[in-house]
């Protein structure tokens, strides 16, 4: 029996100053493929992103498997379903490897399958260990679409797959392969929603919905020529913190973004020379901890990095959080405070090293939250989040006061 996987209940969604969707209703059951059609600007991508809980609702609610996952009062809950997502942007960073990205996507389902047959079918097997930055636009699109489909192929339960213009930039043969996979997923009991202008993909659907008129038309889809036999292995889900940690070390973004500012701060303080001998306790702690504080004030490099190809939106949809560096700032803060203690030739106090680590950790993540708060803006890089960083100077001063007592 068909299981309801997605219900859109009277939603109103605004983009800019326009109401794009108004009192819109839709349902999608397991074993169904729904093709969203309509002119440019009709609201297809808006509907798909609202279903992925990426857009706030003015009215109505979204349900996944009967659970309200987003509503007009701003509530947003984790989806109980395995979610496969390919946005118009690819949702992956250039510093990820192809196989690594696919394994990350599959890990969200708790299971993994061998991605090589899929890569082979998309003529990408020889690129499996390449960086995504090294792929052509069409190849990167294929990887993004595979990252949406593979969690469903690996999943033991019905999955919801959302595809926004998946065939954009794909060659003819790859589109045929994609249609075959969509048909196989439908037969296996998964549900697929596709925004498309491509007739070949529309032919895979069981229902066509014209978003501008809300009219739904039942159609008879193409049948798959074969059924894949998957041997899924259980795996642990990769968290946004684990992903962020990995990307930080691969790109050394922390060195460029945080550590350089911190080391420059230390260098400037050391240039005071003899003045350092006559410091009061509070000033001495201020000098010792300043490099750790400067590292934290620079914020989270992953916020900027994950804006590439809307990687942050993909993570927010499938894992409920943006990638971040987890405990990296704690380790960096401890290291920098140790370095400043040695540089100022004072006795290394373990408690001050730990305070330095915690200072960087807390400062870093508060600035991260301020940075992430601007993610919804049309031009997030144009706002001056740095103006708000002095909010942390008073707590820093009070911390120094406390330490000196």
């Amino acid at each position: 029996m068909a299981q309801p996987l997605l219900a859109v209940d009277g939603i109103e969604v605004r983009r800019g100053m326009h109401v794009v969707l108004n009192a819109f209703n839709l349902s999608l059951n397991s074993g169904e493929v729904l093709a969203l059609t309509g002119e440019n600007g009709a609201g297809k991508s808006t509907l798909l992103e609202a279903c992925a809980r990426l857009l706030p609702l003015e009215q109505g609610r979204i349900l996944h498997a009967g659970v309200v996952v987003a509503d007009h009062e701003g509530r947003r809950r984790p989806t109980p379903l395995v979610l496969g997502l390919a946005l118009q942007k690819n949702g992956m960073m250039g510093s990820e490897f192809v196989v690594e990205h696919l394994e990350t996507a599959m890990s969200m389902s708790g299971h993994s399958v061998d991605p090589r047959p899929f890569l082979r079918a998309f003529s990408l097997e020889h690129r499996a260990n390449d960086l995504i930055a090294h792929l052509s636009q069409g190849q990167a699109r294929k990887v993004a679409v595979l990252a949406a489909l593979l969690p469903a192929f690996a999943s033991k339960q019905p999955a919801l797959i959302l595809l926004d213009e998946p065939a954009a930039g794909m060659d003819e043969r790859s589109v045929s392969v994609l249609c075959e996979w969509i048909a196989q997923l439908r037969i296996s009991g998964h549900a697929v929603m596709i925004c498309t202008h491509d007739q070949r993909l529309s032919d895979c659907a069981t229902t066509h919905v014209d978003v501008s008129t809300s009219e739904a038309t039942e159609v008879i889809p193409n049948e798959p020529s074969s059924q894949l036999d998957m041997n899924a292995q259980p795996v642990k889900a990769i968290s946004p913190a684990a992903f962020g940690w990995k990307m930080q070390w691969r790109t050394l973004a922390w060195l460029n973004h945080n550590a350089v500012a911190s080391l420059l701060t230390l260098g400037v303080l050391l240039s005071f020379g003899d003045l350092l001998d006559d410091l009061e306790d509070m000033q001495r702690y201020g000098f010792l901890l300043a490099p750790a504080f400067a590292a934290g004030l620079c914020g989270e490099a992953m916020v900027q990095a994950s804006r590439e190809e809307r990687t942050n939106a993909w993570w927010r949809a499938v894992a409920n959080a943006n990638p971040h560096s987890g405990i990296l700032p704690l380790a960096l803060g401890c290291l920098l405070t140790l370095l400043s203690s040695l540089s100022f030739s004072v006795v290394v106090e373990p408690n001050i090293i730990i305070v330095g680590g915690l200072l960087t950790f807390v400062t870093w993540h508060i600035i991260r939250l301020l940075q992430e708060a601007t993610n919804r803006l049309a031009r997030p890089r144009a706002v001056f989040v740095g103006l708000l960083t002095p909010i942390l100077i008073l707590p820093y001063a009070l911390l120094l006061d406390l330490l000196s007592q």
């Binding site: 601007t374 919804r376 803006l377 049309a378 989040v385 103006l387 708000l388 002095p390 008073l394």
Partner: protein, 233 residues
């Protein structure tokens, strides 16, 4: 009519502020020399305190506007948010700048990073700069409005902290001089000039907010007309 009221208030506010300055510099009695390191600089107080009062009104408008947009989706409330941010920026800078000059003369330093009131008020002013510059950098839309209204709403938590800061943590900034319930530390003539300043700044800030809301309304009307022209041409 509304336009004339706004401009009239702005004019009377300016005139009142100018009168306050003249009275503060030429007529108001000086304070006891023993009580202040720099008694002449104390006259900045007739500008500093009313400006801070007006800033709190502006930040109140910002808070009400932010909440009204987020919870009611009201266009008028969004205009109040933008007007509150602009008025908060103007009066916040007046307060911070005059405070720094006074602090430099009285304490020997224009700023103290460990003083809670100085820092929270400075942050409120930085928040206003952030909101004014940020809004100018973004296209108008629900995403822009939601983001900045949220900052306006959360930022308002600094207002009560700033207000009570000198009562709880008296470090450098002096405590309240009026409305404490104790015998006031300012005499009749001083109080009169201060009252004139407070009324003038209040009138000025209301006029500023009214005019600013009108400008935002005209900007929105212009955008609507341009959008209509886009469809016709």
């Amino acid at each position: 009519m509304k336009q004339k009221v706004g401009e009239g208030l702005l004019f009377f506010g300016f005139a009142g502020i100018a009168s306050t300055l003249v009275l503060a510099l030429l007529w108001a009695p000086s304070v006891s020399i023993d009580a202040f390191e720099s008694p002449a600089a104390q006259r900045i107080f007739y500008w500093h305190v009313p400006a801070a009062w007006a800033a709190f009104i502006a930040f109140g408008a910002l808070f009400v506007g932010s909440a009204g947009w987020l919870f009611k989706r009201s266009e008028v409330m969004w205009r109040l948010h933008t007007a509150g941010a602009e008025a908060g920026l103007a009066t916040g800078l007046m307060t911070v700048w005059s405070g720094c000059v006074w602090g430099a003369a009285e304490w020997g330093t224009p700023w103290d990073w460990t003083d809670v009131r100085l820092n929270t008020f400075g942050l409120l002013t930085l928040l206003a700069i952030y909101l004014v510059l940020g809004r100018g950098s973004q296209p108008d839309g629900v995403e822009t409005r939601d983001t900045f209204a949220a900052f306006g709403l959360y930022g308002f938590v600094l207002v009560p902290i700033t207000y009570v800061a000198t009562r709880i943590w008296s470090i450098r900034h002096p405590g309240p001089v009026v409305g404490t319930g104790d015998e006031s530390s300012i005499n009749g003539d001083m109080g009169l000039v201060l009252l004139l300043g407070a009324i003038s700044f209040t009138v000025f800030i209301i006029g500023h907010i009214m005019n600013s809301m009108r400008v935002t309304s005209l900007e929105q009307r212009l955008e609507r007309l341009q959008a209509t022209m886009d469809k016709v041409i």
